[in-house]
């Protein structure tokens, strides 16, 4: 659906985007995560032609974005709805007119029977059919974002681009908006690209994720791979390095595919090897509804080989944590 190849962009001597390549498949919910200033929003804006870039290419649905004329680009933009952090609704238009605006850009009448039905259907989808005549200022942040999502869907796009769409919202509302995005992805088959610095967003909805730092792609993979066994840079971003662990012995982090196998394995480990160990920390994480767990145990130095052999035998993913 979207193919990014060796994309680079400079602001003077600053490399905003540095040789970025990855591919987004149709129907995916693709996450682009990184700190503020990592270049992820710029990357998203390159995809729909709001920003230009210096080298490389972006191919959307077979069309090479950087070779299109302005008119052709507008047609590609029509296929990609966009949702913003600050909603970007027109304050003087009511909900209905805000959703209708993109139709008017494309020369359609906002009050024709078919458009009326389309707008009302979308407002029903986002749960705001009773707010048709409200102005944005009368709505909460979450409701405004729902209007913005309806607006982004009005031109029947194939792709929905979300630029920090939940960053201005509280956790409960964020969850609701994410559920809405999941629903849109499932029911309408729309490919979604989300740019975010919130891990929760990635964990709750993304099927694939690219981690970006200083304009470079650090790693690409499934969210569970990225966060359960993170590479050091992702770990630093996630902030898990602040774990307080025993200074002696060996600290081992175990990863589990579900919560049941976890308790079972731990008791087996103690019983079979006849050793003592401490459980230091346990955590369950929810990735798109499936639970993944991690557990940190502290074992005696002399038990190290035994335990590692046991883990290997039981096909457990684990890593030894280094003392700081």
């Amino acid at each position: 659906m979207i193919e990014i190849k060796n994309l680079s962009k400079n602001f003077g001597s600053l490399n905003v985007l540095d040789d970025i390549s990855f591919e987004i498949e149709k129907g995916e919910i693709y996450g682009i995560i990184g700190q503020s200033g990592a270049g992820k929003s710029t990357l998203l804006r390159c995809i729909n032609g709001l920003e230009t870039f210096d080298s490389g290419s972006i191919i959307v649905d077979g069309k090479i974005i950087n070779t299109l004329t302005k008119k052709e680009l507008q047609h590609v933009q029509k296929e990609m709805g966009m949702v913003f952090q600050n909603f970007n609704l027109l304050s003087r238009l009511n909900v209905y007119d805000n959703v209708a605006l993109p139709l008017q850009f494309w020369g359609q009448r906002k009050n024709s029977p078919e458009n009326k039905e389309k707008i009302m259907n979308l407002l029903r989808l986002v749960g705001l059919e009773d707010k048709v005549n409200s102005k944005p200022a009368q709505l909460s942040g979450g409701q405004q974002q729902r209007v913005a999502i309806a607006r982004a869907l009005i031109l029947d796009p194939k792709v929905l681009l979300c630029d920090e769409a939940t960053s201005a919202l509280d956790p409960v509302i964020t969850k609701e908006i994410l559920d809405l995005l999941l629903k849109i992805n499932k029911e309408m088959g729309i490919t979604i690209v989300v740019v975010t610095h919130q891990m929760e967003v990635i964990k709750q909805i993304c099927t694939k994720v690219a981690f970006i730092k200083n304009g470079k792609v650090v790693t690409v993979g499934k969210p569970e791979e990225l966060f359960v066994a993170p590479n050091p840079e992702v770990q630093a971003f996630v902030g898990e390095s602040v774990e307080i662990l025993p200074k002696d012995g060996v600290n081992v982090k175990l990863f589990f595919a579900d919560e049941n196998s976890e308790s079972h394995l731990i008791t087996t480990l103690a019983r079979k090897l006849d050793i003592d160990f401490d459980i230091c920390q346990g955590k369950l994480e929810n990735f798109r509804g499936s639970i993944l767990g991690s557990l940190i145990i502290n074992i005696q130095e002399e038990d190290r080989d035994k335990v590692f052999a046991f883990l290997k035998e039981h096909h457990i993913i684990w890593e030894e944590l280094q003392h700081e």
Partner: protein, 211 residues
């Protein structure tokens, strides 16, 4: 006295409304050009923006009484005479255009850049963005800017009045000042104050209604 005052009041209102009308229409053009060509605009162009910016500043800094005299040949060419309220419309309009242009430009500038980006993301053309986003969102500010213009035009029309345009300024100077009739001075001042109050109230009403 009342007959002279009523006629003068009507002349003043005619000059204000007429010159506001023309200056708003003509002031939109440089305002849109400057909005488009500004460094963060839709079609950035330093040279074009620089030229319009310079022209607007220059014309705004002209003392009105000098502008009035300077454009007299133009006034004569358009209206056929340099006296009477209709003739005053030419310098009043020319004096107000840069004012209006600046007022509309800054109203446009206040429009959240995110809205422009959102419109672009849906494939809107520049014309549609001006008309459906900038104009729509900035309308309340444009209205209060036009009210401001009208009120300064009241002052300008009084100056024009002393140079043959008629209206309340003319009455105040001719009868009140040169004729030593203080009551004319007082009454014309009161009428001018009332006109300002009415225009401001109407403006506030529309501003509230629109925003």
């Amino acid at each position: 006295m009342s007959e002279i005052l009523i006629e003068a009041t009507l002349d003043t209102i005619y000059m204000i409304v007429g010159s506001t009308f023309f200056s708003v229409i003509l002031g939109f053009i440089p305002a849109i050009i400057m909005t488009l060509t500004a460094s963060d605009g839709l079609r950035p162009n330093k040279v074009v923006y620089g030229i319009f910016d310079f022209l607007v500043n220059t014309f705004r800094s002209f003392p009105f009484v000098i502008l009035l005299v300077l454009v007299m040949p133009l006034t004569r060419a358009i209206v056929g005479t340099t006296i009477k309220p209709t003739a005053a419309l030419v310098p009043l309009t020319i004096g107000a255009i840069p004012f209006v242009a600046r007022v509309i430009e800054s109203a446009f500038r206040e429009v959240d850049h995110g809205l422009i980006e959102a419109a672009r993301s849906f494939g809107a053309s520049n014309f549609q963005i001006i008309y459906r986003v900038y104009f729509k969102e900035a309308l309340p500010s444009i209205v209060s800017g036009i009210v401001l213009t009208m009120i300064s035009l009241i002052g300008y029309s009084a100056i024009a009045g002393t140079l043959g345009a008629g209206g309340l300024g003319d009455v105040a100077i001719r009868f009140g000042y040169q004729g030593f009739k203080t009551e004319y001075m007082v009454v014309t001042s009161i009428v001018l104050i009332i006109i300002v109050q009415i225009i401001q109230s109407i403006g506030n009403f529309f501003y509230k209604k629109l925003s």
